[in-house]
Symmetry: D2
Subunit: 365 residues, 4 copies
Amino acid sequence: MSKSDKYTTIHYHKYLELDALLSLQKPRSTAAGETAHDETLFIIMHQVYELWFKQILTELDSVLLLFREERVREDNMHTVLLRLRRITTIIDLLIEQIRVMETMTPLDFLDFRDYLFPASGFQSVQFRMVEATLGLREEDRITYHGKSYKIVFTEEQQARLHDIETGGSLFELIEKWLERTPFLRFGDFDFLAAYQEAVDRMIGHEQAQISNSQLSDSMKEMRSRMVGDSSTYFKHVLDREEHERMVASGEARLSYDATIAALLINLYRDQPILNIPFNLLTELLNIDEGLTTWRYRHAQMVMRMIGNKIGTGGSSGHDYLARTAEQHKIFRDLHNISSLLIPRSSLPDLPPAVERGLGFHFRNT
Amino acid sequence: MSKSDKYTTIHYHKYLELDALLSLQKPRSTAAGETAHDETLFIIMHQVYELWFKQILTELDSVLLLFREERVREDNMHTVLLRLRRITTIIDLLIEQIRVMETMTPLDFLDFRDYLFPASGFQSVQFRMVEATLGLREEDRITYHGKSYKIVFTEEQQARLHDIETGGSLFELIEKWLERTPFLRFGDFDFLAAYQEAVDRMIGHEQAQISNSQLSDSMKEMRSRMVGDSSTYFKHVLDREEHERMVASGEARLSYDATIAALLINLYRDQPILNIPFNLLTELLNIDEGLTTWRYRHAQMVMRMIGNKIGTGGSSGHDYLARTAEQHKIFRDLHNISSLLIPRSSLPDLPPAVERGLGFHFRNT
Amino acid sequence: MSKSDKYTTIHYHKYLELDALLSLQKPRSTAAGETAHDETLFIIMHQVYELWFKQILTELDSVLLLFREERVREDNMHTVLLRLRRITTIIDLLIEQIRVMETMTPLDFLDFRDYLFPASGFQSVQFRMVEATLGLREEDRITYHGKSYKIVFTEEQQARLHDIETGGSLFELIEKWLERTPFLRFGDFDFLAAYQEAVDRMIGHEQAQISNSQLSDSMKEMRSRMVGDSSTYFKHVLDREEHERMVASGEARLSYDATIAALLINLYRDQPILNIPFNLLTELLNIDEGLTTWRYRHAQMVMRMIGNKIGTGGSSGHDYLARTAEQHKIFRDLHNISSLLIPRSSLPDLPPAVERGLGFHFRNT
Amino acid sequence: MSKSDKYTTIHYHKYLELDALLSLQKPRSTAAGETAHDETLFIIMHQVYELWFKQILTELDSVLLLFREERVREDNMHTVLLRLRRITTIIDLLIEQIRVMETMTPLDFLDFRDYLFPASGFQSVQFRMVEATLGLREEDRITYHGKSYKIVFTEEQQARLHDIETGGSLFELIEKWLERTPFLRFGDFDFLAAYQEAVDRMIGHEQAQISNSQLSDSMKEMRSRMVGDSSTYFKHVLDREEHERMVASGEARLSYDATIAALLINLYRDQPILNIPFNLLTELLNIDEGLTTWRYRHAQMVMRMIGNKIGTGGSSGHDYLARTAEQHKIFRDLHNISSLLIPRSSLPDLPPAVERGLGFHFRNT
């Protein structure tokens, strides 16, 4: 095909390869001579899911490429954001699609269920690739009968998954990008020190207000204890050694420096230079939350379709899926940033030099 | 494949023909050596649409088959209802999917738009089949440059469309089914006479109440005129000759008898025997409304993508699509039944014999 | 107000009591002189939720009334179905509404969070009433700090909750209605016996097919064991004594007779007389699933807003909400019916007399 | 209320003013002694709409305030964006809410419809305020019976609407903000000249490629004519005098300078400094499109509810609403920017000095 090809014409039907596409639905019940009406729906449902998984992978791969450049170019960040947002939009659609599956009743499913054995959603390599590309590691996964999730795949597929798992996931690239944030120490402004001071001041102020308030003694004590807990919590989390211990033990995953950078971005997100980084972190939460909801809704649908019986893949589908919903969350540490935030009114003001540094400088010269 | 095939195993990947499915995305920009990132999305979007169209056609064809049986079996009606409802659910998803398309910006579309020429959604034969199967006739369609919508299709596709258009659409089968409703004359109960009497009584009563009310004279006049208009309207619509004139002129499509049956079903829908017929008519409205919304949202999306410029198919896409939204509605006459309804409090009571006739009779003998 | 009131005019603004309605948003941060922009959203979000809860209660109360009539009238069942379906539609909207809440960032919430103490969604008496009316008993609830969920309410509210909990919930009314199903024994047709025979035949047939198949020995063994497990399961569940033991121990809640009736309705749902009962059971699952999803999404939102810190109500909101999502499911036993279904091809044919009994009898005499 | 108030406690029930809120549903049918079950739904539906309208107005007013500052502060733009996005999210919910209304059947509506006269959605002053605040002028509105839309409002409400219409709408503030864009002339870089040159080069190139292609003569002619039309179109639109003529005649509304700035922002949106402006323009399109869809769906719902009969407000509701859907669009000119875009490959490169000027400059000194 040459570049001038844009001047050859193409028909919609050919462009989309519809002859091939629409011949790929091959109900097994039909082949066996006892067509189950709903098997076509079942096939199309899953083919559509796989097409969307391919699209998500396409977007993720492009994002990884942009992030892998030696120096992440600022003018790529907007593109990254738009592509992550597209993934969220697609996941929303995947969730809605469960409603279509729910139009199939358990009795209708039984008409062809036996033909599927032992095929199952566990065997979707693309979905595993999506999870792995985002950053889910083999050790994070809930095991099924104590075996690697990879055993249902071909060697070639296993190799692809292995490459993804060892090649630098989005989680790792985001972590490195956060660690590179140049704003943590800025001239003589030390963000962490200023933040800790603000936390202390805020907590002292609150304790004083509680003492002087009209609250009953038991209420005073309760609120006071809450404030005290917060204080301990902040100290605990912001301690580098403590943090590293948590990472080592698996309680946290994101490195200390990346965590602090994410905190800074959340607190000062209104600074123009931090708008896009903030939106980007938000989008990672959206993707994580979307996938969690999808897994959960999927588990509900399976429950509805087959009750507590084991799925076609030989697993008690509902329980497994319901457990993965939350456990396979990837950017959990970013969710936890919320518990470190302090009110804007307590935020340390940025020194003017820093504030200028974080703004846009349009120099028309 | 033999019946025992349900005891051969199958892998998810093979069952869904994923090797083939995932190789059918062939961006023309890539072939030409200047990959446009968003072309993959564009292809997958449309392939997913076509898969859903196939599913809708599968459901519609099965419904037509059930309706074509000499005597529509009552115990098929529930199945018909569930399948129509599935179509509505799928259309809801098609509408949601427009959000995914909207993540593609006009500038991104421009990167590969030239490669598509003259491919266009006009060339989706499956969508035309959906419309024709529901009951859209060639003469109902908004013409484009005064030519048949069929000219963009192959001879074989044109033949298929022709067969559908002449083979008895869902509209026609529903019309015949309504005409067969046995309840219009029931022993010595004449529904239409009773209904017209009720309308007259209701209107007389309302006029009296208006006269006796505390309303200002101008308000009395306005309300009175409204009631009078209603009266004229009812007389007009319920007149067989007038109705047939409207059908002849194209102002209405549904036959007189079918219209009256639909009216009866709406008014007495709480009678057990009319539950499913009522739900079925409602579902036809849902499908019609869903497709209308889809066309309208599609038109908006095209406007956003290319403004007022002509589409890749050489049409001013937005205007054409926006006009089809409402014009290609199929069950318009069922929507209009609403304007014939009268309040339950004015409804003629069914004679006890009729009421028993419309209930369930469980005879445990 | 007299009946003639329909002839006095009313303005939209007055009808909706907008002067009062729009004056009920009273941000505490504003009262304290430091307006937090997002507090208005927070108030309106929750007021909208409460308005919808009122609507759900209105529908539920009307459904309970219809079910409480000595003999549930068949021509009310369609109304019941439409109202339950409306509840599902409203719950779908409640779920969507979480997206609006998610436009509030954690930092924005912090601006007024302290003013809310200790107000919390735990204190929504209407939501508790919805759960209780559906059938959630006090003992089913996850306790919070080991105390009754009622302690946050006024005495009058507690009394209302108590009345609901002891007055016959929807669960109980549905259970009684199922138990009254007259189809279980029908002339000389004994549904349960026929069903058990069909299960045995089906299982025997499957075992034979597995033995004769080309499967590897280990596969044969695995499939055979699965079939065997099914067999045990069916025997187990269909045994009245065993069932009663499960109810006594809390493993199941729905009575044996009601369970068998629900099974019959699911298996023979295509019989006209069972259409509405089947749709009604389906709608109960939809409501249950909708509330479950709402609780789960709510938990996710709380996690996002405040991380792992305790909520304004003093609870670790996310964990509590996430646990209630599944635990507060009410019609769990209806979900489990799915695991008792057998393929239509194995279903015992109904004797012709029974089949006639389940159809419509339109007698035009 | 003093600042220490955050240390007085508040109950959820009191905070939300639930006693008052839940007593504002006063069905007229109940007052008249013939309760129509669905009237409560009707009231709650509309009260919820009005609460959301209040929220939209709250967001719009805050955005206007931020835009009215002498010099729009860059670090407010992100806040503006988040608030506009919230409005879009709310509008999505308003659209979804129509499904709840659609659970009310025409027959159910008839049970209380007479009581509403002449109340109607036309009388929602808040919705008119939303439209006016966005920028809809009185002269843009489709008139109803040739009278001002304001006549259904009180004098005080009319005055409020007048103030909004004359006080600087969002449209006007956006227009001024676009006109202030400093990037149109940048050192010796003249954006418009460079853009026009690029358009000419692109068109010449395309014409050459068409001539040299393998297309049939008629195809060549067709494509060539399309390209020619584009060329004319670009010239036409980019001519200041021609543009001013269009504004004067009402064909366009956005000023020439603002249009060119919007074009630049769309073309160079990847430049960091233009990210937020681009996202902001996109959000205005989203709001416009959302309101259009809402009006359209609303029109459909009215059609379904009352057919072609006149609404309670005395208008033929469906037709009026369907026409406003598109006609009351406010940022039409921003939609049309799409037709002015040219492919990135044809875009003039920015001189390095300009590119630096559009990037972030982080100076850690």
